[in-house]
């Protein structure tokens, strides 16, 4: 069997560009084919329909996200450094999948797609919670706070980091992340002597 001469990738790239800009509903298969420089028949060789393309793209996106997370989590740096790196990552990927696109998917009640997203989300939450519990066990973070609350709070943080009202307070995003993280790790109490 011959190696795919990049047509699959061309379709995926064209679809991603269009979906991410306009949502799924507004984009037609013929449009994707045109942008990919591929005929409709070729498109149907690889994907059974539009939803299948979107599903593939969304799964790919989440997979690469999980992979990036895993790499950070299992790297040999302090827990604080890990959280910092994750927040950096989240920020740079903020527009990876726009809220608009998600709304589009849910609003149009495409059950297959929303189920796909829900499934992956659950998987990611499971991974995150396990990792938090592990970190509690080995004493990297305090264990008198529910992992679920930490996760909720972390999600809240990432939202804050893309909120223009917060961003505009700081002269650069690194300073913002650093300050927010300090608050997350140490709270509002002034540091005691001996504390890092």
């Amino acid at each position: 069997m011959e190696k795919q001469s990049g047509k699959f990738e061309a379709i995926a790239a064209a679809a991603k560009s269009l979906f991410w800009k306009h949502g799924i509903r507004r984009v037609s298969i013929e449009e994707i084919c045109h942008d990919a420089g591929v005929s409709k028949m070729t498109c149907y060789k690889y994907f059974s329909n539009k939803t299948a393309i979107a599903k593939y793209l969304i799964e790919e996106m989440f997979e690469s996200g999980i992979k990036a997370y895993k790499e950070i989590y299992h790297s040999d740096i302090s827990y604080e450094e890990k959280v910092k790196k994750m927040l950096d990552l989240k920020m740079s990927n903020a527009h990876e999948m726009s809220q608009e696109l998600l709304d589009d998917i849910y609003k149009n009640q495409d059950e297959e797609l929303s189920e796909t997203i829900e499934t992956i989300k659950k998987r990611m939450i499971g991974i995150y919670l396990d990792d938090i519990r592990e970190a509690q066990k080995i004493g990297e973070i305090r264990n008198d706070v529910k992992p679920e609350f930490m996760l909720y709070f972390l999600n809240n943080l990432t939202e804050m980091l893309t909120d223009q009202r917060l961003v505009s307070i700081y002269s650069n995003p690194q300073q913002m992340i650093s300050e927010v993280m300090t608050f997350f790790f140490y709270g509002i109490m002034p540091r005691k002597n001996g504390e890092k």
Copy 2:
């Protein structure tokens, strides 16, 4: 007759937001009505169809552009200052109408809309050329260069000013405009003594 309770404006605003983001083709009238919080019947009270809404918005946009230009041109400042103000204006309005939206209009061969745009464009070019000729007449700019070439070159300048490759060379846009303008007014030759 009662004053329109902002429904016309609501429709125009919703349509503009959608058109400017997704182009005209991808947006339906029902969508506009929904976003405007107005029923379809009310929409048809004010506009006969989707093209009519787009036409109104495009004309309004060009009109306000011409108005802003006129204000600058007839203000009591030096010609150099005028050009600078115009370039500032052009830059801040760079995304007023995206190339994508224009492509959408031309690609879909909506004759009415493209004619509307062409008509307005011609009017604007006429105004610009007249003003350049007048400036030549009263000696504000040299008269051994065709007005048409100056206009062409000015258009080219505004395109350059939104080109990221150029923008990234300068630490701020004002410096860029100033340098580009100096080149436009005085060319590459070093200034002679006595020249401003």
